[in-house]
Symmetry: none
C-alpha cells in the first residue's frame, strides 16, 4: 500500500495484548506523523458504539465547532462536556502502539481485537464483529439509496461492490 497519504484509508484489525497494547496500523501512524499531533486524539462516536480518533486535523474540527459558542453559555458547557470531557489523548509508544483506556474499551465494547476504519481526516475504532454488522447495514442502505437515486437517473452514488 503506497504511503504518502494524508488521509486515513482502509480497514485493519489488530490484537490487544495482555498488557492492553495495540499496534496502530502503520499507514495510520504515517498519517498521524504527518499531521504532527503527538499522540492520538480520541472522541466517542455519538451515534454508534465506537470511538473516533485522529490527530490535529480531527481535534481542530472539534475545537472549531466549539469556538462558535460563548464560553459561558449553556451550550458551551454541554458541548465541551460531551466533546472535550469525553475525549482522551492517548500516547503512542516508540513501537507504534497505544493502550486504550477502560472508558474507550467499554465504549466500543472491545475485548481482544480492534478494527481500525479509515475515514479520511479521522478513523474509527470498533469491535470487529460489531463493525461487520454495521458495515452490512451501511452497505445495504447505500444499495437502496443508489436504487432510489438511480431511478431518477442521478450520478451521485458511484457503484462498487461490498468491501473487504
Amino acid at each position: 500500500m503506497a504511503g504518502r497519504m494524508d488521509e486515513f484509508v482502509s480497514t485493519f484489525t489488530n490484537r490487544i495484548d495482555g498488557k492492553g497494547r495495540v499496534s496502530i496500523p502503520a499507514p495510520f501512524r504515517e498519517v498521524l506523523m504527518r499531521d504532527g499531533f503527538p499522540g492520538l486524539y480520541c472522541s466517542p462516536t455519538l451515534d454508534q458504539k465506537a470511538v473516533d480518533a485522529g490527530g490535529n486535523r480531527f481535534r481542530d474540527a472539534i475545537r472549531q465547532s466549539l469556538s462558535q459558542f460563548d464560553p459561558f453559555s449553556e451550550d458551551y458547557e454541554l458541548l465541551s462536556t460531551a466533546l472535550m470531557g469525553e475525549s482522551e489523548i492517548l500516547s503512542i509508544d516508540k513501537d507504534g502502539r497505544t493502550v486504550f483506556s477502560d472508558t474507550i474499551r467499554a465504549r466500543a465494547g472491545l475485548t481482544d481485537l480492534v478494527t481500525f476504519v479509515g475515514q479520511g481526516f479521522k478513523f474509527q475504532i470498533w469491535e470487529p464483529s460489531r463493525f461487520a454488522a454495521y458495515r452490512e447495514e451501511a452497505t445495504s442502505r447505500v444499495r437502496e439509496l443508489r436504487k432510489r437515486l438511480g431511478a431518477r437517473g442521478s450520478a451521485g452514488v458511484p457503484s462498487q461492490g461490498g468491501g473487504t
Copy 2:
C-alpha cells in the same frame, strides 16, 4: 499520555485523602504549568452544582465576559459578585496536589472522590455520580442538537461539517 497540550481534555477521577488532599491530574497540571498561573483559579459553575477551574486563560475569560456589561449595571453587579466574589485561588503543592476549601467541597457536594472534567480553556470539578448524570444529559442534548442542526460528519461535530 502525550503532553504538549494547551487545553484541558478528558476526564479523571481522583481520591481525596484523609487530610483533604487531591492530586490534580498530571495532564491538567501540565496545562496549568504552561499557562503560567501560580495555582488554581476556581469559580463556581453558574448553573450546575460544580466548580470551574483553570489558570490565566480561564481568569481572563471571566474578566472578558464581564467586560461586556456596563460596570454600573445591575447585571454587572450580579455577575461580578457571582463570578469574582465567589472565586478562590488554591495552591498546588510540590506533589501536584491541592486542598479544596469547605466552600468548594460544599458547592460541588464532594465527599471522597473528585472528577475533573476537561473543557478546553477550563475544567470542572464534580462529585463523580453527580457528573455521571450530567454527562448523560449533556450527551443526549448534544446528540439532539446535532440532529437539529442536521450536521453531517460523524465526528459528532455539530455544524460546520468538520470534514475534509
